[in-house]
Symmetry: C2
């Protein structure tokens, strides 16, 4: 443990300030020469200060890929602050961390990784780069919101029993909506099976730092953890961290992977911002969240007076009858599922900073609600067909909460004029038939291994068909609605009816998709000859 005076240090920013104050002449990159070029350019004014510390690996500035000095020191302070044995600063976002972790754990082609189905696309890209095989684990689906959290203990236990040769398990906790679960038992199951637990904790960099926040993945026993420090703490965008503990992960190989995937000219301002983000929570500890938590309290207090909107939270399970959609599940599975609902082990934690709301009547889609909030000066994080995600953080203040409440009150008042009985009825109907992407409760809660690789299908193997005609075909491209960046389909996967419906909905609501050849989403690329095979 560091003492108070150590934790107050900011080794990287300190070195940058010393560099700046020394006022020496730059005969090194970057070419803007500490912003000297723009000294009379008003349009670059906001970059002037940051450019004065935008340096490179000159003498005394250490080297991210081989840290020995202030970067090593800053990483050690981060390890202490977040409870890791070793922490690595990332300048390529959690993307770089996920890619590097997977390329480390799956070092041989064909290695099996147990991966929850609803992962960020960077995890799938990691599988592709590694040439690994993924066994997809079905996540727990919250019966009220129809949103997927993560796989429960029993899913992981049974998949590990079926694939004892697996190299590890990778889960995403919390998800983009702030939904999560206690992963202590999962870590134990992994360690009993002799594999590391990797956690994409991109959305939970703040976890474990305040009593009202869920426990961190590291404290719960995870071996490799990726955190987007820029998301829920205060680093600049692309600033993230990779934390390691224990002996399950080959750190030498990990270093090589990070040096391979990240820029050989990493951004010092981003590294300094990681250092400052750590410093802020390290010195203020719980108090760092005082103002943000107060903003949340004010918001929740005001929320009680609103009737039009619904707020996502695990507590709802106890207030509303569950709507299980079990398809062809056996009676035993129905019982198991019901017992899961009783204790709700798949969705037991909610990030208080993630305010996820929807129109109770389903009249406004998430996209429409987002647009209306923006008209009121409140910019949400993202929206889906149903939900809008609004993100508070330790930097939020009471005034933010008041502003959001005023916007919601305005919308609620405006909407009462429009809500005729017919519309309401239609809305409720729509709401009940909402189809979740991940609502795939199947006979087995894990998939067969799916081989990932980098090779795109050859031109003559593939054709383009309109969305209406793709039912039952095998996808030849990845379809990633963004946000939240979770692939709905990836190459080699059979397109089932519910997916077709989902795709058409996304297309008609104008959602953005990455990875597709046709950005308008009217068509999709499928394998020409393969109707049912699932291996790519």
């Amino acid at each position: 443990m560091t003492n108070q005076s150590q934790s107050a240090q900011a080794p990287i920013m300190d070195a940058l300030l010393r560099y700046r104050e020394a006022g020496r002449a730059s005969f090194h990159v970057p070419g803007h020469k500490n912003g000297q070029l723009y000294r009379q350019e008003e349009i670059a004014r906001l970059l002037q200060d940051v450019m004065s510390i935008d340096v490179t690996e000159i003498s005394g500035m250490d080297d991210l890929h081989h840290p020995e000095d202030m970067i090593l020191e800053a990483q050690k302070l981060a390890a202490d602050c977040f409870g890791a044995e070793e922490s690595f600063f990332l300048v390529g976002g959690s993307t770089a961390g996920n890619l590097a972790l997977i390329l480390t754990v799956c070092s041989q082609p064909g290695d099996i990784l147990l991966v929850q189905r609803n992962v960020h696309k960077s995890v799938l890209h990691g599988l592709m780069l590694a040439g690994a095989r993924a066994v997809f684990l079905e996540p727990y689906i919250d019966p009220i919101s129809q949103l997927a959290s993560a796989p429960v203990d029993s899913t992981i236990r049974s998949a590990l029993a079926a694939y004892p040769e697996a190299k590890g398990v990778l889960i995403t906790v919390p998800n983009y909506y702030g939904m999560g679960l206690d992963i202590t038992a999962i870590a134990e199951i992994c360690h009993e099976a002799g594999v590391p637990l990797l956690v994409d904790e991109a959305h939970g960099a703040h976890y474990g730092l305040h009593p009202q926040l869920p426990a961190s993945a590291l404290a719960s026993g995870a071996d490799g953890v990726v955190q987007s420090t820029h998301k829920m703490l205060s680093a600049m965008t692309m600033g993230a961290m990779l934390h390691i503990q224990g002996e399950w992960i080959d750190r030498e190989l990990l270093r090589q992977r990070l040096a391979m995937l990240q820029s050989s000219s990493p951004s010092y301002p981003i590294m300094a911002s990681l250092d400052l983000a750590r410093r802020y929570v390290h010195i203020h500890r719980e108090q760092a969240f005082r103002e943000g938590m107060e903003a949340i309290r004010v918001f929740r207090e005001g929320w009680a007076g609103l009737t039009r909107f619904r707020l996502l939270g695990p507590a709802e399970v106890n207030n509303t009858p569950p709507i299980p959609q079990l398809g062809e599940a056996s009676k035993a599975e129905v019982q198991e599922s019901e017992s899961i609902l009783d204790s709700n082990p798949g969705y037991s934690t909610q990030d208080p900073f993630k305010v996820v709301i929807c129109d109770r009547y389903g009249v406004w889609s998430g996209y429409e609600l987002q647009e209306r909030l923006e008209q009121q000066g409140c910019i949400p994080e993202m929206s889906t067909e149903r939900y809008v995600v609004l993100l508070f953080s330790l930097a939020s203040v009471k005034e933010d909460a008041v502003r959001l409440l005023q916007a919601l009150e305005y919308l609620e008042k405006e909407s009462t004029i429009l809500l005729s009985a017919d519309v309401l009825c239609e809305g409720l109907h729509k709401d009940n038939h909402e189809v979740s992407t991940w609502n795939n409760l199947r006979a087995l809660n894990y998939s067969q291994p799916v081989q990932f690789h980098l090779q795109p299908p050859k031109k003559d193997q593939v054709e383009t068909v309109s969305l209406e005609l793709c039912d039952g075909r095998v996808a030849a491209e990845m379809v990633i609605p963004y946000p939240p960046g979770i692939p709905l389909l990836y190459p080699g996967e059979t397109i089932q009816a519910d997916i077709v419906e989902r795709l058409m909905k996304l297309q008609s609501t104008g959602a953005k998709c990455q990875g597709v050849a046709d950005p308008s989403m009217r068509t999709i690329r499928v394998y020409r000859d393969r109707i049912t095979s699932t291996d790519a």
Copy 2:
């Protein structure tokens, strides 16, 4: 071609300024909330302005991985400015561009790429990720400086004839020292052979933009070009561009590769800085370099009065007798080599902004000279055993030149006291025996294909030996002295006597090495059982 008013636009920065001025409440990442967290933190003051525009893919902010709006517009302006058909903004530096290009051109494992030996490590990492086979092309070695530039036409022609199945040719022009050659003929040879020419032009983002600068790779016919806009132009560190022209490169696949390798939360300040860097040269054109060129002129004028140091340049070939070190080369090769020296086709261009100097007497190593310059307040870009690289740019001013001249004059004056006849003699001796890393003129000017892959050697296949004992062994790790980041050895390569000598020199002079298990460089990891094999 765009008109003056279009080129003066800065679509990304404009959008960020509008975002800032709108003063709406942030319910989105990043968690610092436009820097709101740090409003009273003096230590973060220099990040305050940039954090006010450090946003994410909220409404109206487009998406780097799927640009449709201002990012697309900014990229189109960049394509116009730099002479590409299509330009891609990179937030992960030229590293991301090189990885993506190689993964696009070598889309099947085992695909052959012709690669010059002295490439940046990101190129080798690209080969590893792609599982490609590299045919290494010997670069032209400047006989005076012993520095490697790039392969000459005849090397590329003969290698393409030997490997007609190759997928492309990748060269690095200019190199870190600003050395280059006219690549027009190389582009023609590639196109005749039906393959694209890829150019790592990381050090030449400014090429072609002023009559005193060499032509750009795009203007010379290259198909895919990576430029570090942060190095020789004025973007923030990690800001780079990938330019494409013609039909040789599969752009759809390239987009997928870029989305795979770069952060899904790219930095807007970095993208804005790319936009501004393009805007600056787009509106000022030649005049953008007026002040920097004037600084260089002043420096060269003052340089004429110095006697202790030597300046790198292709003109030296005509002033000094060449020192060919041809080993076992045949008579025909000696003649060919001599005719090369006559016209000096392998090193015909020098970036005027790269001032590369050495101690004429070899008393001070490059490292020592760098240290002395730093004591005089001049911070060089990097140094090697022999050279110091000092980098001017369009942002340099006359005062920089004067400061550097004063520093050199001081060192020259100081050194006359120290230079006894003995020392001088020793120094000259040392200078003459300088061994270049790449001084491998062999019977063939290209290698056998070397298979790259991601799999690290298994523990029992490898042992650690001290540097003194590694002669003739097969390397099991990559050794990359940094800067300039060119691998001296990679896994599977036999360690020859000259390499051993070089390694020991690097170790004794305290150079930094990436990729090695022992950062002190006293030991090296080699294959246990394989003494001469070169396939990994």
